[in-house]
């Protein structure tokens, strides 16, 4: 449940920052940008990448957390060692997978089901989603010194 709330918070935070990016960059501000709806959708998704980094980059780098996971005191660790995971692995393997699935799914709509498949893995005993399996990670409760 905590993971679900954390994921929901991440979507809300990233969407809001993406909207700010869209406003600031003006990538879909002009009539010409809507001549090709697919192209403007790609621009909007591209704004989501810096938005994700602005929001989560520092937390991922130092603590293996996204903003949503930080709010729910969760963190991502290496499945085998329990240690922190490399920032680049978190970014290019673990975070990129859902983005790729959504982007590809927007073209071939049935592939959206992969997001559900990914999500359904949470009901396994070890609660590792498909992207955790691919990245070799798991999500644990963060225990502070206090």
């Amino acid at each position: 449940m905590q993971r679900l709330v954390a994921t929901g918070l991440d979507w809300i935070f990233v969407t809001l920052v993406t909207l700010l990016m869209i406003l600031a960059t003006g990538v879909v501000e002009h009539a010409e940008d809507y001549a090709n709806i697919g192209q403007s959708a790609i621009y909007a998704v591209l704004c989501g990448i810096p938005a994700y980094l602005i929001l989560n980059g520092w937390l991922l780098w130092i603590r293996g957390q996204t903003a949503g996971k930080a709010a729910m005191s969760l963190m991502i660790v290496d499945h085998q060692t329990g240690n922190c995971v490399s920032f680049w692995k978190l970014l290019f393997v673990r975070a990129l997978i859902p983005v790729v699935v959504i982007a590809v799914g927007s073209i071939f709509s049935l592939l959206w089901l992969l997001v559900l498949v990914d999500f359904c893995f949470i009901f396994r005993k070890d609660q590792r989603c498909l992207h955790d399996w691919i990245a070799g990670t798991r999500v644990v409760k963060r225990v502070t010194d206090q």
Partner: protein, 573 residues
């Protein structure tokens, strides 16, 4: 290929092949178009073959070639003057036999909110079936002669018949966001497509094209109206326009924007988003041809942003040869309104906000018995204008009802030249901003003076969101005037008195003639649903009354039924 498939008989397999071949023809012909990306065309064709071909069973005709000798309209307005009057030699439906008018067959449209207007020949009804494409249906049985798949699929206009210089019969129509199409009337093969994207970044084709000789006149509105709900959109920079194409090639002849001044930056909101103006003045309706003067008349909508222009909510007269503006009559000045105004505090709602008093209905050119010609234009304010077509000067002006956002005259009026009457359908839907008394229904005005001959106020069914108003186009005959209301009721009133002569309630489920091609509902049945009557309205041809039910774009009841009625006595035993 297509002909041999047709000649081989009527087995189901061959019908499937027929669909396959037609899709292939579409792909082949579209590849010649320089503006359509190849990959998109390829995937579109694959989808058509896979999903369209597999579902192609019953509902197809034995003979696919339609008769093309007699057409019962030239486009949106029945005639090029947009009178929407069907003379007695073109319709036998009258007050004498209207009680024998019965439902003949119903065709299930693939999507709800039909926007097309039927074109009828001696044995075929052509209709824009959004989701499938342009379809040619047998008049007697409703079986499908051919389907011409169209990229963008939403055929939003009437269909105009034309003959090319090489003798080919073609059909011209607009697809909402994809341009104007010419297809071969014999088999639906694509000939050309044109979109005015060199002149307009996001044109929209909601007004019907008009064909005159080797010219195709194309009214152009803009997708920008819808974009104004996006608060990050830099509103607004586009202008409505009228364009002319060469019938033979689809090449542009001229393009006349309704706002000649280029948009300038006027400010910004939320720190980053820039505002522009003037903008808007879209052309929503079909143009009206004045062959004698060589003029084209059309109406414009409101501005989307400030500063406003002197050409919004106006009637234009332009030269058919080069598009030069002869005169402009602006009925409502300083009217700036956008879809953003639907949301309180929206940054793209102009300040001050205007009343949204478009001319959506095409003007009507008609001649009085004394030889005088008048141009009639209905406005969303509820005003009806009678203008001198030479100068645009007012002869009379009369306001009916309340008007406003969903009020007044929407899709179009009709005239009765012999009785010298203008029939004015009034929508006047409730929007919570009412300041005047509404008058939803039909009103008959004298052409010469604007005096009201009779008014027929229609009561709503009384349900939530219902309205007895008339938003759709209407059509008149010698002694009857036909229209559908927003509550899904189809009416025939006496032209002289406004009394009801016939009525049909379309809020029902209909059995359909599409056969296996019809889509199943949740319970596995193949039906069509009736809904609100709106958009282009009914058509009269011979002993037939044809109308699409189910336009639900503004909260009305949606549906997907193409209804064909026939006078029973004329049905062979």
């Amino acid at each position: 290929m297509f002909e041999s498939a047709r000649d081989c008989g009527s087995s189901e397999e061959l019908r499937e092949v027929n669909i396959f071949v037609r899709a292939a023809i579409f792909r082949q012909s579209e590849m010649g178009s320089p503006t359509v990306p190849l990959t998109k065309r390829w995937w579109h064709s694959v989808c058509l073959v896979v999903f369209g071909g597999l579902s192609a069973h019953g509902g197809l005709c034995e003979t696919s070639e339609p008769g093309l000798k007699n057409f019962y309209s030239s486009g949106w307005g029945i005639d090029s003057a947009n009178q929407r009057y069907q003379s007695p030699n073109r319709t036998s439906v009258s007050a004498d036999n209207i009680d024998q008018l019965e439902l003949k067959w119903v065709y299930q449209l693939a999507q709800k909110t039909p926007r097309s207007y039927p074109l009828v020949s001696e044995d075929t009804i052509f209709f824009g079936d959004s989701g499938r494409g342009l379809v040619a249906l047998d008049r007697d049985t409703g079986c499908t002669r051919w389907t011409s798949p169209v990229e963008g699929v939403e055929i939003s206009t009437a269909i105009s018949p034309a003959r090319m210089p090489d003798g080919r019969d073609v059909l011209i129509f607009g697809v909402r966001q994809n341009g104007v199409f010419a297809v071969d009337a014999t088999d639906g093969t694509h000939i050309w497509r044109y979109s005015f994207t060199e002149d307009h970044p996001i044109p929209m084709y909601s007004g019907s094209p008009l064909v005159d000789g080797n010219n195709v006149f194309v009214p152009i509105s803009s997708m920008e109206m819808g974009l104004t709900i996006l608060p990050w959109y830099g509103c607004c920079t586009t202008s409505g326009a009228m364009g002319a194409l060469d019938l033979s090639t689809g090449a542009k002849k001229w393009y006349t924007p309704t706002i000649s001044d280029p948009p300038k930056k006027t400010g910004r909101h939320w720190l980053f988003v820039e505002r522009y103006g003037p903008s808007g003045a879209p052309v929503w309706g079909a143009p009206t041809l004045d062959s004698k003067r060589g003029l084209l008349f059309f109406g414009t909508g409101q501005n989307y942003s400030h500063p406003t222009s002197a050409t919004s909510d106006a009637i234009f007269a332009v030269d058919t040869s080069d598009g030069m503006v002869r005169w402009v009559m602006q009925a409502t000045a300083n009217d700036a309104y956008s879809m953003g105004c639907s949301f309180p505090g929206h940054p793209l709602c102009p300040d001050p906000v205007g009343p949204d008093h478009d001319f959506g209905a095409p003007p009507i050119l008609s001649t009085l018995r004394d030889g005088r010609e008048l141009l009639f234009a209905g406005q969303k304010s509820g005003d009806v204008h009678a203008l001198d077509p030479e100068t645009g000067a007012h002869v009379w002006r009369k306001r009916i009802g309340r008007g406003g956002l969903l009020g007044g005259v929407h899709f179009g009026m009709a005239v009765h030249p012999e009785l010298e009457l203008v029939f004015v359908p009034i929508s006047d839907r409730e929007t919570g901003q009412e300041k005047r008394q509404s008058a939803p229904g039909l009103h008959a005005l004298e052409m010469a003076s604007g005096e009201t001959r009779w008014s027929r106020i229609l009561q709503s069914r009384g349900c939530v969101g219902c309205s007895g108003g008339i938003s759709s186009g209407i059509v008149a005959s010698r002694d009857l005037v036909f229209f559908g209301d927003l509550d899904g009721r189809l009416w025939a009133l006496d032209v002289s008195t406004g009394e009801t002569r016939w009525q049909h309630d379309s809020w029902q489920q209909y059995d359909v003639v599409n056969g296996d091609q019809a889509q199943k509902d949740d319970e596995g049945g193949r039906y069509a649903e009736g809904g609100a009557f709106d958009a282009h309205g009914p058509m009269l041809a011979d002993d037939l009354l044809i109308v699409a039910s189910g336009y639900g774009n503004f909260g009305q009841r949606g549906g997907n039924a193409l209804l064909v009625f026939q006078i029973k006595s004329d049905v062979p035993p």
